[in-house]
């Protein structure tokens, strides 16, 4: 179980309340696919995900981005037991969707960069460090059922 100080909880919530799930979510997968094109392997049923223009305008990707951030909201609200909160999600990603867990880490990096675009200097090194601690806990929880 990850331990959080009061200050860390404040920082994480502070970052998260500045994130507009619809706005950031809509562009999240576009960023991930453009930066890490090989993750396209999961999106065979998503229509055109092959050109930058298609990726940026794909409604299924936009919808999925919002779903991912809604799940992240769950993690923010369950900071003391993200592992428990994410157990079935982890299992689904392992057994059904068969996602390489390295891609949780890659997506987390994209989330941080999207947030950096929004928060700019407010994402100070200290704030980023705390946010990173949180995202690492989320990624670990997503990996937890991979056995």
């Amino acid at each position: 179980m990850v331990k959080w100080t009061e200050e860390e909880r404040c920082i994480i919530r502070g970052v998260w309340e500045k994130v507009d799930i619809d706005e950031v979510g809509a562009q999240l997968w576009a960023r991930a696919l453009i930066v890490y094109p090989w993750i396209e392997r999961y999106f065979g049923s998503f229509g055109d995900t092959f050109t930058t223009t298609a990726i940026l305008n794909n409604p299924k990707l936009a919808a999925l981005g919002k779903i991912v951030l809604a799940a992240l909201d769950t993690a923010v609200k369950n900071m003391d037991n993200v592992k428990g909160a994410y157990a079935s999600l982890s299992r689904v990603h392992y057994e059904k969707i068969k996602v390489d867990p390295e891609h949780f880490r890659l997506l987390a990096e994209c989330i941080t960069i999207s947030i950096a675009c929004k928060l700019k200097a407010e994402l100070s090194p200290q704030v980023q460090s705390t946010w990173q601690k949180f995202l690492s806990a989320v990624v670990d929880s997503m990996r937890s059922q991979y056995k």
């Binding site: 094109p37 068969k98 390489d100």
Partner: protein, 143 residues
Amino acid sequence: MSLSAKDKNTVKTFWAKVSSNGEAIGADALSRMLVVYPQTKTYFSHWKDLSPGSAPVKKHGATVMAGVADAVAKIDDLTSGLLSLSELHAFTLRVDPSNFKILSHSILVVLAIMFPTDFTPEVHVAMDKFLAAVARALSEKYR
């Protein structure tokens, strides 16, 4: 961390000794990888049997080591030598490049197990550098 002339020689000499065991090395390395790093199983959902030493694992292990043998032969220019393999991994297989390190480590473990006296630290470093260079060449076409 590019391969020195000494590294290349060490790799070629060691490979000459062990290459006849290529299939066994590949089968064991892949078997271990799937058990020790279960996340790698996500790339093999099309296989009926992922257990150590199973038929698909053995067959694929041989394929992988044939690729390694090819890389040894092309050690002086891995980037152009492995171009079509890179394209295969980047566009068709889309294996996350982080997995190359995992498989490389698994291969090194098997080499240590099978050739404990030959797999000296000097051979270890040369082989590790070589497999890392192969991984780099394979990653070339990804983006």
